[in-house]
């Protein structure tokens, strides 16, 4: 009896550890823009992708995440990626926890290259550097939005999702 109680405790203890470990998942980290460009923006003229630049400290960014999540659930086939501009250290657990708490399941990467003046124009010459910002590739066409969206419908009104899906 006593023994099984201990066993139960041990099982719960181990389960608790595993659960913590799972929410501490590291997300891909890019410390220089060139490597980010190669992997995330690669071959931008020939792909379909919706890329949202955000950070955990940016209130309008965090506010619009659920709208992108709704879009992700409505169109699971649409390739989407969240690019966190948080600190390098946040890639190791904090970002994953932050998104898990908000039930955001869109793939995320962290871009922690401080030399922003060298790379902002490479994302889009139209970008002044404020976030949130959203970049869309549609097979050679490139769209850029330096604004926050008020709802999933607002995203659908601004971006031709059907065309993205068709061209995927």
């Amino acid at each position: 009896m006593q023994r099984s109680k201990h066993l139960h405790f041990l099982i719960y203890f181990i389960w608790g550890l595993t659960a913590t470990a799972q929410s501490d998942v590291a997300v891909p980290l890019y410390e220089d823009f060139a490597s980010f460009q190669k992997v995330v923006l690669h071959d931008e003229t020939n792909q379909v992708k919706l890329i949202n630049f955000w950070a955990t400290w940016c209130k309008p960014c965090v506010k619009e995440l659920p709208y992108f999540q709704q879009l992700h659930e409505k169109y699971p086939e649409l390739p989407m990626v969240l690019v966190s501009l948080d600190k390098k250290a946040d890639a190791n657990g904090r970002i994953a926890r932050f998104l898990a708490q908000r039930k955001i399941t869109i793939p995320v990467v962290v871009l922690a290259d401080g030399r922003a003046n060298d790379w902002i124009d490479k994302v889009s010459p139209d970008w002044s550097g404020s976030i949130p910002a959203t970049l869309v590739f549609n097979r050679g066409e490139k769209f850029f939005f330096e604004t926050d969206f008020e709802s999933m419908e607002a995203i659908e009104a601004a971006i031709d999702i059907q065309s993205l899906i068709k061209n995927k």
């Binding site: 400290w57 401080g114 003046n117 124009d121 970008w127 002044s128 404020s130 976030i131 604004t147």
Partner: protein, 200 residues
């Protein structure tokens, strides 16, 4: 009498309610002067600085992490350059109904706790930042004495670590302006917080 009233009403209609077309200033353009309320309650204009050789206008705010990272650097820049005739003039462009941390009361508290020696002005009604084309905080506009834009952009190239800065864009621009040299680069970009506007 009634004509005067009607004319007055018409004028106020045009001046108060006409939307200000946003302009993105470029180097070489002339920036507008303004009259904005400082944290000490007094109104401040560029024309108040009689002996200024230039103006370091910084759109900044309380809430934005990037703005906070640069507060101490702005204090140091003001300490160094205001006595040479280049004062820092900070302007909060955010609508406090959209971002309560950037209310006038919170500005007063922030200026006091950080010991700002430069004006920290409130762009009440958000009339000034669109006439500069500021899009984020912090966003710097360096003007010469005639209010001609000489440099627009970032303070330096490393928000997170002041000790690891390699390019002091703003200070280099001030030094070039002092020496009558070309400013290179005269436009830079940086990450920052969007300017907060109340949505309908």
């Amino acid at each position: 009498m009634s004509l005067t009233i009607i004319t007055g009403m018409l004028i106020s209609l045009f001046t108060l309610n006409a939307p200000i077309a946003p302009v993105a200033l470029k180097p070489g353009d002339t920036a507008v002067d303004f009259k904005l309320k400082n944290v000490d309650g007094k109104m401040v204009s560029l024309s108040d600085f009689k002996n200024a050789k230039g103006y370091i206008i910084v759109f900044t705010c309380n809430h934005c992490p990037y703005a906070k990272l640069y507060e101490d650097r702005l204090i140091a820049i003001n300490d160094k350059y205001s006595k040479m005739g280049y004062p820092v003039i900070a302007i909060n462009p955010n609508d406090p109904t959209a971002e309560p941390e950037d209310s006038f009361d919170e500005m007063k508290k922030r200026a006091k706790s950080k010991g700002f020696k430069f004006p920290y002005l409130f762009d009440e009604g958000q009339k000034i930042y669109p006439q500069y084309g500021a899009t984020r905080t912090p966003h710097v506009f360096l003007l010469n004495a005639q209010r001609v834009v000489k440099y627009i952009g970032a303070i330096d190239d490393n928000p997170n670590d002041a000790s690891a800065v390699k390019a002091k864009y703003l200070e280099d621009a001030i030094v070039s302006l002092q020496g009558g040299k070309d400013i290179i680069p005269n436009v830079t970009k940086a990450l920052g917080c969007s300017i907060k506007v109340k949505k309908a």
